[in-house]
Symmetry: C2
Subunit: 319 residues, 2 copies
Amino acid sequence: MQTAQLLVGLDVGGTKTAALLVNASGSVLGQATVPTRTATPDELLDSISQAIHLVLAQAQVTPPQIQRIGLGVPGQVDPATGIVHLAVNLNLQNYPLGPALSARFKAPTFLENDVRTAAIGALAHVRQREPVDSLAYVSIGTGLAAGVILNGRLHRGHNGLAGEIGHMIAESGGTLCNCGLHGCLETIVAGPAIVRQMAETEPETVVRHAGDVYQAAVLGNQAAQKIVQRVSQQLSRAIQWLVMTYDVEKIVLGGGVTQSGDAFLAPILQELACLRQQSTLAAALLPDEKVHLIPAGFNPGVWGAINLTKQTLSAPEKS
Amino acid sequence: MQTAQLLVGLDVGGTKTAALLVNASGSVLGQATVPTRTATPDELLDSISQAIHLVLAQAQVTPPQIQRIGLGVPGQVDPATGIVHLAVNLNLQNYPLGPALSARFKAPTFLENDVRTAAIGALAHVRQREPVDSLAYVSIGTGLAAGVILNGRLHRGHNGLAGEIGHMIAESGGTLCNCGLHGCLETIVAGPAIVRQMAETEPETVVRHAGDVYQAAVLGNQAAQKIVQRVSQQLSRAIQWLVMTYDVEKIVLGGGVTQSGDAFLAPILQELACLRQQSTLAAALLPDEKVHLIPAGFNPGVWGAINLTKQTLSAPEKS
């Protein structure tokens, strides 16, 4: 009988769940994506289990060979107990997702908020090229949030809400946010906000997601160009805010909106270049090398989940 | 001969230097303030020494009884070496202030940036009432900066620039800041900015410092009231920013501008109450108890400097 030494990493999203299977030396043995079913906690567990069984089948191994499972969950979680306090998109409230998954697969499960999990994955990614101890991973998708690594460890904050930068007020009296406040950063730069601004400016142009707006901008649509400029200015400001508050070594950008690649990144770098021209402080703190875009082929969520199981980063921050 | 067990704390400002002498149990034996002389490093050392000799005289003790000296310096410093890299207001550049003071008094000297030192003092102050492990001390005076405590320790950041919130861009295309950027938070809420706004709005009213504007507002001057409202809105937003990024337990406000006391604090609390009404997230994260004003009689700078010497907080953050 083979020793159990395989690690499973899961990125559980509101619509799909990605899974990764690696061996002790970090080689990929399987990867899969399945739709997330959220009608009941049991159905959710079934869809997560389906993803796990798929990657096991790819590697021709069986559940007993799983040593540990890590997963990132979009919501408020308690890593110490494995309880998901609130995950609206997964239809979970105060549910012991970690223990339930551990019971199904007879393996310890480590869970964390999805953006924080991705921050751990982003750290691993950046560390392949240079030694880095601090970064903010900014996830720009349906919402906007940051996972913050300080001194090589996650910074969760007193209420586990550190990095909720989507709700930093960017514009007095701006658009009403889901949170109730007006002018939150999220109402300008998140995916749905980008789509909304295009619909408001040019209702005749049909856009389904932020990528359409970036593409239209590249193709010369002036309304789209204005929106991209506004979004890029606010994102460059968010980067500046994170650097001035945390003084982290890297800002890593990821999430759905960043999938427009260069069309997304170039105007942000342009804004940062403007700031550098104006100020020696900005020149010192905001070089282009500070900002890193997660490449299309890398999923920081599943790799972060793998690293969660190693417990080097997910240890509670209180010493 | 008596054992050396007295601690000296110093807050070295651009115009005056405050000193505090305490014994091992923390009782105050002397306190003094002298003008800071900055023509040469030697003159600076002389004025610091004068402050120390004054508090020693008050306690009728001699230099050999000093066990340790702590000091907060307005500029970029290296706590490990005691070198002041740059302190414009003290006319120092790459000067070994710590070693020079140690040599004069034959006692180890511990030094740190002044706002960070005050943050340590603020922590001690808040801890007299409740156990707290994280806070941001926001100094609102000639400039604006924050000293951040996470997990009971100073967070300095990768370049020692964490908490430079005065240069977070608050207003696109706003007033030109000393740093070269436009619309930095400091150009709206720092003391000189408050005075400038009054001079711009109502040149016939003579104001010398921010306190005059707060007083005019209380007495019904409408221009002053508008400025106070704008400043308070931006400060409440800065508080919200710090809470959304760091998720600290307390925001402690100190520095010259806060000396207007209730006239300063009440409109900020009003703004926060507005945010709470709008949003359950804000209601959870921004209760009135979160914000603490340093009382007039307490100097967090000298107390922080005393605590620096105890090295529980000033240890390098890298573990």
